[in-house]
């Protein structure tokens, strides 16, 4: 099978090649006197940096969707722990442990905005998190800037038989769809990230 490097390795290789070419070019500036030299300078000082920056941005965007990224701030640690609560009534834990969401993108899957440019909006929201964490004063406990939107739950659950045929859901479906009744704060599925009571709870051990 052919060797296919992962994006990070490829990016490191490209960065190394770019640096070598730039050093070569600036140590022999007379090369740019010729037409071929000018074209080389254009590739080395314009095309390659733009390609590296684009690939790097794509890689960082992919990384910022990972659970590890969100939990790398200490303030998020209890929320990461809450994904292991051994209680099926605990909504994030049940989703995480039963692989209803990708475990390596658990935070992003439920907390992104499923709208046009939702990923970009989520990243801008993420910049606000960083601002509050390092330059502001994070609230204790932390909370969402806006109420959790049913749209994020319905992205997966809408149309699912277990959801649309549920007697309670059927009775209030228009209110759920229009976000009048919240999935998570209406008393229905409000057992979400119970970080205040973590010490008294039992945790699931993920099999190795």
């Amino acid at each position: 099978m052919a060797f296919v490097p992962d994006p990070t390795t490829l990016l490191y290789l490209l960065i190394a090649v770019s640096i070598l070419l730039i050093v070569f070019l600036i140590s022999r500036p007379s090369l740019t006197a010729s037409s071929v030299g000018k074209q080389m300078a254009f590739v080395v000082l314009f095309v390659l940096p733009v390609v590296v920056a684009s690939m790097g941005a794509a890689e960082h965007m992919r990384r910022s969707e990972q659970t590890e990224f969100c939990l790398s701030c200490h303030i998020m640690a209890p929320y990461g722990q809450s994904l292991y609560i051994d209680d099926p009534a605990h909504i994030p834990a049940a989703h995480f442990q039963n692989a209803r969401i990708p475990r390596d993108e658990a935070c992003y899957t439920c907390h992104t905005d499923y709208v046009m440019y939702g990923t970009i909006l989520t990243k801008i929201g993420g910049l606000r998190h960083v601002y509050v964490q390092y330059l502001g004063k994070p609230e204790n406990p932390i909370h969402l800037y806006t109420p959790y939107n049913n749209r994020e739950c319905l992205h997966c659950h809408d149309g699912a038989r277990s959801f649309v045929e549920g007697a309670t859901h059927m009775a209030i479906m228009p209110d759920i769809l229009s976000n009048q009744i919240s999935c998570v704060s209406s008393g229905c599925h409000d057992n979400v990230h119970d970080v205040a009571h973590l010490s008294g709870l039992k945790f699931w051990q993920e099999p190795k």
Binding site: S18, I19, V23, L45, V52, A57
Partner: protein, 73 residues
């Protein structure tokens, strides 16, 4: 070396150094998965790369605007 060539060489060096610094910051930012790595990549690495590329593009325009005396004749 003529004056425009010297100017071009200077711009190339400045541009090259800025781009190399930007690339090094981008490489370092890939070591850890952390929001600060993302910010370093976006603002420090991206800023240095953009400055380097703009310097190079400016050099092309500046040299074209001030051709050497031989090109005038």
């Amino acid at each position: 070396m003529s004056a425009p060539e010297q100017r071009m060489t200077r711009y190339l060096r400045i541009s090259g150094v800025l781009i190399i610094l930007g690339l090094l910051v981008e490489a370092l930012s890939l070591i850890r998965i952390h929001p600060l790595s993302f910010l370093a990549f976006m603002f420090i690495g991206g800023g240095l790369l953009a400055a380097g590329v703009v310097t190079f593009l400016y050099s092309l325009v500046a040299i074209a605007d001030h051709p050497s005396p031989e090109e005038h004749t």
